[in-house]
């Protein structure tokens, strides 16, 4: 007699055989593995002949589906003089598909009730569409088309450049924290492509041509550079058939080699002082930190929770409550493919200087380098981790986002749960080692922000 799992396997093989028999040139599918995703869900990994990675997470808890397409291209793949191209391109992906007319993509998706968006960061670009389950076929049709049939025209590129320039003004030029954060990364990195901002330098944004955008599209937007995640209420046999037919017509591409430039070790502290139109002094510090896949990353992340996570954290207690030096203090370690930064941001209260803030930061970091944090602190931080993970998985979109991110950066779609387990196994010694390794002042960049605020005029006229 056959067991249930054997029967399921045979049915799946039969299904794939039937789909592959009708598949277009590049559309043959292979089931690679099934990966547990938390207590009750799993991820099925498929690979298409053209190299497209497909991750399916069936979840019937609501009649909706989320489709995420992650491309392994971010601002790290750009070059000096062409910064911001990955992000500009993300905007252009919503414009026009061959034979569909400008604006069709958004209009059609909204008519179908979709919620769609996209984002670009250092290592990746992702597109997300959440849709009532009946409309999944439409989403897959349009997503497959824009992977290979995007139309780039001069007027749209010109207009979108202006939109991105306005986004930059909003997020960076007229935003104190955004502007200083950009300066921090440009100071901390001298070689690696993490040194320029994802949104790009303004002069580069203004200089892009339609040809730049076309070349970028041909180089990076290919199925063998993408991960497709579908999470939610769908029928496996229907979805696999659609995927094969829609994406199977898209050929793989020869991907460009990344001109990777490892960042040389920083051996002395770098300090900068800037003036900004703000009421109080600010302090921004960046310590070189491990890559997301590094053994030390969970340890430094847990340490970050102990130091900066919430109002019970050491730094909040000391700087905001006890000494009342700061109105806000934050710290976090970057989730990047390559080593990034452990960033600290503190806003001083009126009458206090950024130097005072740095003194306290130094005192607190020295403490965790000299003595282990307590077990109670580790338990508190670990519980915050668990709550954060579970809270992010409530929607189909949250699940797809978590799966897509970890697959793109680490190649392991369920790594969120692996990290939670690793966090639980961490010891006080692990955190002590991480503190000593990464909180070395010689490996940091510090920016002091001084207020420079002209007095605005005031008058009233009836």
């Amino acid at each position: 007699m056959q067991g249930a799992s054997t029967r399921k396997l045979l049915q799946a093989q039969k299904l794939l055989s039937a789909i592959n028999a009708k598949a277009p040139e590049h559309g043959q599918l292979e089931h690679v593995e099934t990966i547990p995703f938390g207590a009750s869900l799993s991820i099925d990994r498929y690979r298409m002949k053209n190299g497209l990675s497909i991750l399916l997470c069936e979840d019937k808890s609501a009649p909706v589906v989320s489709v995420h397409t992650w491309f392994r291209v971010g601002s790290r793949h750009e070059h000096e003089g062409k910064t911001g191209l990955a992000h500009l391109f993300e905007h252009l992906m919503f414009n026009e598909i061959e034979g569909r007319g400008a604006g069709y993509f958004d209009r059609k998706l909204e008519e179908a009730g979709a919620e769609s968006n996209a984002s670009t960061w250092l290592d990746w670009t992702q597109y997300n569409i959440a849709i009532p389950k009946e409309q999944l076929g439409l989403v897959l049709e349009l997503e497959a088309e824009r992977m290979s049939k995007l139309v780039l025209r001069e007027p749209q590129v010109t207009s979108e450049k202006e939109v991105v320039a306005n986004e930059r003004r909003y997020r960076v030029d007229d935003d104190v924290e955004g502007a200083v954060n950009e300066l921090l990364w440009a100071t901390a990195f001298t070689k690696h492509a993490y040194k320029w901002p994802t949104i790009g330098w303004m002069k580069d944004i203004e200089g892009f041509t339609t040809q730049d955008c076309e070349a970028f599209y041909r180089a990076f937007y290919a199925p063998n550079n993408a991960v497709l995640v579908i999470s939610g209420d769908f029928k496996l046999e229907t979805v696999l058939g659609i995927l094969s037919q829609r994406y199977g017509v898209v050929a793989s591409a020869t991907l460009p080699l990344e001109d990777a430039q490892p960042e040389p070790p920083q051996t002395s502290e770098r300090r900068l002082e800037v003036k900004k139109p703000t009421a109080t002094e600010k302090l921004v510090v960046g310590y070189h930190s491990p890559a997301l896949g590094d053994f030390d990353h969970p340890a430094i992340s847990l340490l970050s929770e102990v130091l900066f996570g919430g109002r019970a954290s050491r730094l909040h207690q000391r700087m905001v409550r006890e000494l009342e030096l700061a109105s806000e203090v934050r710290g976090s370690v970057g989730p990047f493919h390559d080593p990034g930064l452990f960033e600290v941001y503190v806003a001083a209260r009126e009458g206090h200087s950024a130097e005072e803030l740095l003194t306290v930061i130094d005192e607190e970091l020295k403490k965790v380098m000299e003595a282990p944090v307590t077990e109670a602190e580790m338990a508190r931080a670990s519980a915050r981790f668990e709550l954060g993970l579970l809270g992010g998985l409530e929607t189909a979109d949250g699940k797809a986002s978590t799966i897509g991110f970890y697959e793109t950066v680490l190649g392991r779609p369920a790594a969120a749960f692996e990290r939670l387990e690793m966090t639980r196994r961490l010891t006080q010694s692990d955190l002590l080692r991480a503190a000593r390794r990464y909180f070395d002042p010689r490996q940091r960049s510090v920016i002091f922000v001084r207020p420079e605020l002209g007095k605005a005029g005031a008058e009233a006229a009836e």
Binding site: A39, A62, P63, V64, D106, R107, E110, E111, A112, G113, E115, A130, P132, T158, S159, E160, K161, E162, V163, V164, A165, N166, R169, Y170, D173, D174, P277, T278, A279, T280, G309, G310, R311, A312, Q317, V320, E324, S327, A347, R349, E350, A376, A379, A381, A383, R384, L387, L390, G391, E394, A396, L453, G454, K455, A456, G457, A458, A460, A461, E462
Partner: protein, 438 residues
Amino acid sequence: MSAAMQSGSTAADVLVETNRALPLVSFSIALKTGSLLDPEGMSGATRMMTRWMRRTAGGRDSQTIDTEIDALGGAFGADVSPSTLVFQGTVITRSLDGLMRITGDVLARPGFAEAELERLRRETLAELTEALDDDRGLCRRWFRDRVFGAHPYARSVTGTASTLARIQADDLKALYRRVVRPENLIFAFSGDIERERAEALAEQLRSQLSAGPAPRDESTEPAVIPGRRLTFVDKPDRTQTQILIGGLGTHPLDTDHLALHVANTVFGGTFTARLTQEVRAKRGWSYGAYSSLPIDRRRQAFSMWTFPKAEDAAPCIELQLKMLHDLRSKGITKKELSWAKKYLVRSHAFALDTASKRVGLLLDSALYGLPAGYYENYIEQVKSVTLETANAAVVARLSEDDLLVTVVGTEAQIGEAIRKSVPELASSEVVAFDTEPR
């Protein structure tokens, strides 16, 4: 309405939506009154009282409370709006009892330590200073103040430096005794919890509070302030502006409420709506361009939001005013209506796709006194909107004449151009960004 929505319990004051997919429970304990009950001249009092309760629960200190909540795998906070005060918690199921115990301490046994109040006051003042860096927040603050004028909706939920200075411990204790009454509460639970347990927890908490008459929201409807007005919030060195244009909007009890909602979807409610197409897609003037029609217990404001660079601000305002004029004079088209209805009906799935969202809708219905079946019949109501009702609602509710334009920018650079961009301006003022609205 979906089956999931229908399955939710709607017992008067304990709302429950069960979903066992994740080991998480969320809850809201809502007071039917908010910052409108701040004593005269003491805006910010309700928010201050709420934070003071949270930080002195059960006579413990703030550090102890925060550590306990974190260690449980929980989060607990509160949101204050003019009409409501909602305590919200989320916790890993195994720790639900622990977080409910702390919640009971927050609501029933605040320690009200005076040293903590003074620390909180200093902290809030520092937050107000930091808020001056947020141009969008500044624009919203001044818009709300000027669009509602003398109505209490104009007041800041956070308060201002001068109102915060006036608030004394006894004022907050009196406010606490007035508003934290069992009769003023609605409970909402969602996630990994059944109705029976939710009701027991609600009863347990309610029994710890002193009974007494629930306060009433006695606010009146805001009045239209006549004429076209400009408030220019002057801030140095701005390369970009923040602009809000609008006036009074809709009320859920209006017979044309959903018709106006549908028309606004066409005008500025989505990424492909008229505003985004004209301002962003065609001209590249602003990263975002939207219009909104929030609801509250009284009539709220309609507003258009854009943030063009300084040089584009005046033409952007001209364009928006022309678009509003066209909307009123020509209306939306049949094709636009059909599209908007499909969008609203289908995307409603995302208002219901989690237990916490479903129970949130039930809670809103109860808190804001929405008409019976407001959410349950939403899809049918949207489908019933016609071209005539949508366009009539626009003409009836959105005014071109009684309109406020609020701009955050650098006055010396663009002030004159902005004033010229608003024809028939009845009044104009320039205010410094670091002054208090009132």
